[in-house]
Every structure is written in C-alpha cells, then in structure tokens.
C-alpha cells in the first residue's frame, strides 16, 4: 500500500514537464466531495448487505442507480477515450452506454463476498484545479486497509485511484487505445458490449 508521509510536502508531478516541473497541491476544506462520497458509501453499505448473495445480474440492477448517481460515467467514458473523443462521431453515445454497463457489471461481479467492510472517509481533501480528491479507506477487521481516493467535480466522481495511485480512467484509456487504433470506434463498442454481456452472463 502506498502511504503518505505527513512531513513531506505534497507535490504534484506534471507528466508533460520532463524537465521536472512541480506544483503544490492546496489542502481544501471539507466539501461537497466528502459529503457526496459519504452519501455514496452509506447507500452502498446498506445495499451490499442486501445483495451480497444475489446473482451478478440482480446486483447490477440494484447497483446501477446508486453508481450512476455518484459517478459521472459519461465524463469518465469521454476521458477514457481521450483526445480522440470527437472523432468517435455517432458512436459516442454507444461508447458511453457500453462503458457504464461494463463498469457497473464489473463492480457487481466483484462485490460478491461482502464481509462487513468499514468505509472511512477522510475529512481533509485536496484540490487540483477544479477538482477535489477525497481519500477513503476500506477495511475488514484485523486486516490492512485498502485506500481508494475519489476525484470529484461538481459533487460527482470523475475518477478513482486504487491504492491512491492506480487511476481507473487512465487504465481504461490504456485498454481502449490499441482497440481504437486497430479497429476504430465500432471495435471499441463491440469489445465493451461483449465484455459487459459476458460479466452479466448474457448472450453476446
């Protein structure tokens, strides 16, 4: 797990600046971001107790409204495709729909063995430009906690970082790029729809 050293100044690395440009990240007051994540976790914890033994499809149906309220799924799809978004043309809507379905279906599949996890949301947030980072920890009794940070804009999640370092959107962008390069938008839609159906146990 990546942990922060409180004595170190929190620095941002601007990737494009190979020359090594750094800028400080401003601490932000508790905000809508914290409230939004708390509200999401509260809803999620209640729901997980009810659906942990349900089928993936049923979990998907119950999770969909909760996740859709908390996450800006369309924005995440746009970011995951990246600068080539405009060139998707008429396929944009299909990519967004298939992306949302895949993300929620994957989540529904993974939360099968809910075992009383405790969700802890840090009061202190950090802001970068127009976005806020909300830090959270999920833990089970006696085990090391798992850190998940949420990148928020306008009270909605626009990305999440597993262990504070692994961006879901960046990872999806890495997956999408070779497919878009070799097969274009239609190939991406087909791959997303096929994977989503497979996770939900539906005929492809």
């Amino acid at each position: 797990m990546i942990s922060q050293n409180s004595r170190r100044q929190f620095l941002s690395f601007v990737a494009g600046a190979a020359g090594g440009a750094f800028f400080a990240v401003r601490p932000a007051a508790a905000s809508d971001g914290v409230d939004a994540v708390r509200s999401y976790y509260r809803e999620l914890a209640g729901l997980l107790k009810q659906i942990s033994s349900a089928s993936v499809k049923e979990r998907y149906n119950r999770l969909s409204p909760v996740v859709s309220r908390a996450f800006d799924l369309n924005g995440m799809a746009r970011s995951a495709v990246g600068p080539g978004w405009a060139s998707l043309g008429g396929e944009q809507g299909r990519v967004q729909a298939a992306f949302a379905r895949l993300l929620i279906a994957n989540f529904a599949r993974r939360i099968g063995d809910f075992a009383g996890e405790v969700f802890d949301v840090d009061e202190k947030t950090e802001s970068r430009g127009g976005v806020v980072i909300v830090k959270t920890r999920i833990s089970r009794t006696g085990s090391s906690p798992t850190r998940i940070d949420y990148l928020m804009r306008g009270g909605k999640v626009i990305d999440l970082y597993f262990n504070g370092t692994i961006s879901e959107v960046a990872t999806r962008r890495a997956e999408f790029a070779p497919i878009l390069e070799s097969g274009g938008p239609k190939a991406l839609v087909a791959a997303l729809e096929q994977r989503g159906s497979s996770l939900l146990g539906e005929a492809v």
Partner: protein
C-alpha cells in the same frame, strides 16, 4: 467511527484496552528517537558505500530525475511481452486459477484474511532491510515497529493491529532500492510466472527472494513446509485480484501493464521520498484547456 469500530473488534480478539494499544504504539515512537539517531549513523556508512551508483546532483534535480524515471513506461518488447502474457494466462487459467477458486471455496474469508495478514508480516523483515538500504529511516522505524507490534499483539502477525496505531505498512523491495541508487528501469518486461515487471524490478525480485531474512532464519525453527504453505495460500489469495483485472477488461495485457506501472510509480516515489500525484486524465479539461491539452496527450502515451 472507523477507529472505534476497529478498536472494539481488536479488543474482542486480543482482550486489551484501546488505551493500552495507543499508548504502546505512541511510546514506541517516543522511546526510539535515540535509537533512530544511532541507526542513522551506523547505516550512513552503508548508504555512502552505495553512493557510487547515485548521480551527483542537487536535491531538486535528483528528485525530478527520479520522478521521470519512476514514470518510465517503455514497452519496447511488447510483442514478446504479449506472447509471455498469454503463456502466463494459459498456466493461470488451467492450473493456478482453479486451485485458487478451490482455496476460496474451502477456506473461509476470515481465515484467508489471517493468512494474508500473516504472510504480510513475514515480509516485514525484507521490507525493513530494503528501507535501510534506501536510507528511509522513518520507514524502517515504522516497519520494525509494525513487525514487533503485530508479531506480539497481533498473535504472530495474524492481525494488523499496528495500522490502528498509525504504523501503516511501508513498501520496500530491492527493485526500489536499485531505483533509489540510481539504476534505470530498463524496458517493461513480462516475466514467466512472476508477471509484470521491468528489467530492474525483475532482478530486484530475484534478490528479494534469495536474500529474504525470514527464509534464512524461520525454516530452522518451524521447518520448510509451514512457510511454503503460507506463501502458497497467500499467493492463491492474490490470484483473485488478477482474475478480477482480467475479467473486467477489454484488453487484459494493457490493463495489467497500466495497473503495474501506475502502482510501481507510486512505490518508487515513496522510496525516493517524492510524491507523484496520480495523473488527471481528461478528454476535455474543465479549466485552461489550451494549456492542459498537450499534457493529456503525453500522459496518454505514457500509459500505454
């Protein structure tokens, strides 16, 4: 609320008051200030001995150079890597994954958690040794404290009670150590069996396995089989994570690579005492789009 809930559960397991645990870990921090200073002096020589590998540059330049190296995502061997990835996946699908599913079916979650936590505790001496070699005395101090607290109060490491007192698990491996000493990563490399790495970290893994203090000492006391059993069981527990990554992906190779590289950048930054904030990946940044567009483009390249 989080701490209250956890502490209540800890009380149930170890029968101790929360104040005692907090005091103990607090005292650990205070009482070891002097020993830390002595440790620094003794180890300074060791770190200086490795100084030949560290480029001579001022602190800020060195930090910047390390940050650039930490974000090195070259995949020059992609064709061979994809082929090795498929071979690893084949072995995983026919042998390892079924064994892991059987393990998850037979062994209940609470017991699997204890095995994972116990296995993590056995890693602490190796992490401690690497923290020292990296000159991270604060991390070494925390790791030593974690090992002591979890081995005693955590019933031989079965419970991570140290995290509750603020002693969070540190990273520490020989790949990181080589990074801090100034070694370049080399290309991204999918290793047989071990999976994603780069040349430097692959060598680091081999050194970590060969030089693990626990593997030298513990088998003489408890025999080889218990340790092997814990390692295999903990490894099977991790397979679930790998299966998760694979099943939810439209290009598992790219997902594994991206996940590994992002996580590794964080670990390397931690070892070097710098913080790399995860990249903000957006198609259309909300603020100052003209200034951010090129950055997004270069980041996208790095992630591949």
């Amino acid at each position: 609320m989080f701490q209250q809930v956890i502490f209540l559960n800890v009380q149930r397991y170890i029968g101790e008051g929360t104040g005692f645990l907090k005091d103990l870990i607090g005292n650990w921090h205070a009482a070891n200030a002097r020993s830390k200073s002595a440790l620094r002096l003794v180890l300074l020589g060791g770190v200086l001995a490795t100084g030949a590998c560290v480029p001579l540059m001022d602190s800020q330049t060195r930090q910047n150079a390390l940050a650039v190296r930490a974000l090195d995502t070259r995949d020059q061997w992609e064709e061979a890597n994809r082929a090795q990835f498929e071979r690893n996946k084949f072995v995983n699908d026919i042998a390892i994954s079924p064994a892991a599913r059987t393990y998850r079916t037979i062994v209940p979650q609470p017991l699997r958690d204890r095995i994972d936590t116990g296995s993590n505790n056995l890693d602490e001496p190796r992490i401690f040794a690497n923290n020292l070699l990296q000159g991270r005395f604060d991390a070494a101090h925390k790791t030593f404290g974690r090992f002591l607290v979890n081995s005693i109060l955590g019933l031989g490491g079965l419970f991570d009670v140290a995290s509750l007192g603020g002693l969070e698990r540190q990273s520490g491996d020989f790949g990181q150590t080589l990074f801090v000493w100034g070694f370049e990563s080399g290309p991204y490399w999918v290793m047989p069996v071990f999976g994603p790495a780069n040349v430097r970290d692959g060598i680091g893994r081999i050194v970590d396995i060969a030089g693990d203090p626990i593997q030298w000492i513990l088998p003489k006391w408890v025999g080889e089989w218990p340790l092997t059993g814990v390692s295999v069981a903990a490894g099977l527990g991790q397979v679930e994570l790998l299966d998760d990554l694979q099943q939810g992906s439209v290009d598992p190779y790219a997902r594994f690579r991206s996940t590994y590289l992002q996580n590794r950048a964080g670990e390397l930054a931690q070892a070097a005492g710098i913080t790399i904030v995860p990249e903000l990946v957006e198609a259309e940044p909300a603020a100052a789009p003209a200034a951010k567009k090129p950055r997004g483009k270069s980041k996208a390249k790095r992630q591949r």
